[in-house]
């Protein structure tokens, strides 16, 4: 498989190296060549004029459903969806069946991922079976390859367990990712407010997220550990994180494209593809999330890609499963932030590539000479309609079906090998 390529006429955006220039980028044997390195004879050219060449994107929050729910997604299909959406790496959450709470499950995931299109970074569980009672063996999980721990899907209800998880994880330099929702307050079906009132659906107040986010901040602050808040959806939580960062608390945060794109108004019509945890919030929250992305309060955009089949989604709204797929729409939806002047190009690449790698602690997210050539090519202009027949994920649960989108990943390269391309039929 060829891993030597010459990208020509692209706009190279590499925030970590403070690069933003139009020109060429040479990849030799799967690594990025030093600038002005002579182009080896016979190197295939990839003309990417009008496109951006950026460090490979990392989605730090996906559900690949394997092991256990392969009818929704598996590691191979999820990774194919990832590379088609411009992601060279994904961090997969442990709430599979069985839960990734021991080295054997991690090893199984890693083995399956060896043949996958994207890099897979397993996240281990905080507690056995994600039941919130007994800590998993973080050392063994780390050795097996997990990059973080989380009980995502469930909040850690027991505050003492969370405190101990933060402390113990610091011994292994593992980030702890918190799904922050107070379970007693979040038994509803959508955001609590005028729309839930009109629809007669039980609400989940913004306070359900805020009280848990504040607990994590207080625990991290007291113990001097770090914590990462998953899928921030509310203005209240963003404000808490902003204030904590100013105090020097080691807190990082991510949000998902749906939280800066949609509001709870989308639930009108009872489309179960608008049902997720945390729920879509108000317009005021949506704007606050955008501000938090711009001012550095929120560090990363992650999709919370959560595939479900029609068995879980073509049912009554109350009974429908939470979550939507997101790998294939994230780049397009995030590019709207640039067009709307919420963030600039450089900040967008920090959110999608630089910061996720930094939070998870691996060397990626830059185009330094000698670095492994994980590269995403993005055409910020291309218009397309996201139809069901284009979906690469096994599941189709998305509220963005048939949306007219602008901007798309055109080519995804992992270690110098082209894993997905929309540029030319002549390329792999």
């Amino acid at each position: 498989m060829n891993t030597t390529w010459h990208f020509i006429n692209g706009r190279i955006i590499d925030p970590l190296n403070k690069v933003d220039r139009t020109g060429n980028l040479l990849v030799i044997d799967g690594r990025i060549a030093v600038p002005d390195h002579p182009v080896p004879a016979g190197t295939p050219e990839i003309n990417v004029s009008g496109c951006w060449i950026v460090p490979g994107l990392t989605d730090m929050h996906v559900h690949l459903r394997e092991p256990g729910e392969e009818y929704k997604e598996d590691i191979l299909s999820g990774c194919l969806a990832a590379v088609s959406g411009g992601f060279t790496g994904v961090a997969c959450m442990p709430n599979t069946r069985p839960v990734n709470d021991c080295a054997a499950v991690t090893a199984m995931i890693t083995a399956r991922a060896a043949g996958a299109a994207a890099r897979v970074y397993p996240v281990g569980a905080i507690s056995l079976k994600c039941e919130g009672r007994q800590l998993t063996e973080f050392g063994e999980l780390r050795a097996a390859g997990v990059v973080a721990v989380s009980d995502d899907g469930q909040p850690v209800v027991d505050s003492q367990l969370m405190r101990r998880a933060l402390e113990y994880a610091s011994d292994f330099n593992l980030p702890v990712i918190s799904h922050s929702e107070d379970p007693a307050l979040s038994t509803g079906l959508m955001n609590e407010g005028p729309v839930s009132t009109r629809l007669g659906l039980k609400g989940i107040p913004a306070a359900a997220e805020a009280v848990m986010v504040y607990r994590e901040i207080a625990l991290a602050e007291f113990t001097g550990t770090r914590v990462h808040i998953a899928h921030v959806s509310t203005a209240m939580a963003a404000d808490l994180i902003r204030a904590a960062k100013i105090r020097g608390v080691r807190v990082t945060a991510e949000t998902a494209p749906h939280y800066f794109t949609l509001t709870d108004d989308a639930v009108t019509g009872f489309d179960t593809n608008t049902k997720m945890n945390p729920p879509l919030r108000t317009e005021q929250d949506r704007q606050a999330i955008q501000e938090a992305l711009a001012d550095g309060t929120i560090d990363a955009i992650a999709t919370d890609h959560a595939p479900h089949s029609i068995l879980e989604k073509e049912v009554e709204f109350d009974q429908a499963a939470n979550g939507i797929i997101g790998l294939e729409t994230a780049v397009s939806l995030s590019l709207a932030l640039v067009r709307d002047k919420v963030v600039d190009e450089r900040r967008l690449i920090e959110l999608l590539a630089v910061n996720p790698a930094a939070i998870l602690g691996f060397d990626a997210g830059h185009l330094s000479a000698g670095a492994v050539a994980d590269i995403t090519v993005i055409d910020p202009q291309q218009q397309f309609i996201y139809t069901a027949d284009q979906i690469i994920s096994k599941s189709r649960n998305t509220p963005f079906l048939d949306w007219s989108l602008q901007g798309r990943a055109m080519l995804t390269m992992v270690g110098g090998s082209i894993r997905y391309n929309r540029i030319s039929a002549a390329l792999p």
Binding site: T187, G200, G269, F270, V315, E316, F317
Partner: protein, 310 residues
């Protein structure tokens, strides 16, 4: 009925979809059907040969009976499915149930379901007209229409009135449908209840949130009390029904703040001594039984109008 009124709706999913003109059409049609119920032979051939299925996923005696009586007075064949105990227990999904029923070619499906939005979901899987007989806390359009009909009969108008709705607004589909219906007809709806039972943003539906029971009832043309449950799904809403009756129940002295000719309504079944003092529930201003009578007429009108449009 040779020249039926124009009515543009294939399904009746909620008051939200009905214009003032639609509501007037339904009420005048119901009015013309009402006299059938007092004839010695209470049957007209209007819907002969048509099949009406009452698909009830939630126990209901009153509403189901009312729809069944309405359909039979119109000569339709009616079948009742108590889905709460049958197919869902076997793990059959709503789309499965719907496609199965649709394969029997019913003309109208009347659905009640504990989940909001289910009647809309049903329309995707069946050819029949769908009438919502109550979906979760969302809508109960036939109840609102019979309430509008009852008030209109007693007041001669539906505009410029003050309607007080008291009690559990959060879990009440009757409250939502009535807020939409009465405000659309030009009346003011004031709601009041314990703060644990007032949903966020109810004002955005067009209702006025009253600061006290007295303010809600003062000068009201209609005082409507809603059925109360103390606790739902482990959510502690009220400490006791005793306290509810004392603080939020409609007594004769509270009622004296309303207009002298104010109507007392309740969607039933009444917790006597809780939402309504017995002397109020059975008092001269109570039109609760008129509501029941008009329920049959309104449902006859709905069955007729959705068929006229198929």
């Amino acid at each position: 009925m040779a020249t039926g009124p124009t009515f543009a709706h294939r399904h009746i999913l909620g008051m939200e979809q009905l214009s003032q003109e639609d509501i007037n059409t339904i009420l005048s049609t119901a009015d013309s059907f009402k006299e059938i119920s007092v004839r010695p032979i209470k049957k007209v051939p209007t819907l002969r040969g048509l099949t009406v299925i009452n698909l009830f996923f939630e126990p209901s005696t009153r509403t189901r009976l009312s729809f069944e009586v309405a359909a039979k007075r119109m000569s339709a064949d009616t079948f009742n499915i108590n889905a709460s105990t049958s197919s869902t227990v076997k793990g059959e999904t709503l789309p499965d149930t719907a496609r199965n029923i649709s394969a029997m070619y019913p003309d109208i499906i009347v659905i009640r379901h504990s989940c909001a939005g289910t009647p809309l979901l049903l329309t995707r899987y069946v050819r029949a007209a769908v009438i919502n007989a109550g979906d979760g806390a969302h809508e109960h359009p036939s109840q609102a229409l019979l309430d509008l009909m009852t008030v209109n009969e007693h007041r001669g108008t539906l505009s410029g009135l003050k309607i007080a709705i008291i009690g559990d607004i959060t879990h009440s589909r009757v409250a939502r449908s009535n807020i939409i219906g009465f405000t659309r007809m030009g009346s003011e709806v004031c709601v009041y209840g314990p703060a644990t039972l007032i949903p966020k943003g109810i004002e955005q539906m067009g209702a006025t949130l009253s600061p006290s029971l007295e303010e809600a009832v003062r000068d009201a043309d209609v005082v409507m009390a809603l059925r109360i449950q103390r606790e739902r799904q482990n959510d502690p809403l009220l400490p006791s029904l005793r306290e509810y009756a004392r603080e939020f129940g409609i007594s004769r002295s509270i009622l004296s703040l309303a207009r002298p000719d104010a109507l007392v309504m309740h969607p039933g079944p009444v917790n006597r001594g809780v939402e309504l003092n017995p002397d109020v529930a059975d008092g001269p201003r109570s039109v609760i039984l008129d509501q029941v009578t008009n329920g049959v007429a309104v449902r006859m009108a709905l069955l007729y109008l959705v068929m006229g449009n198929s």
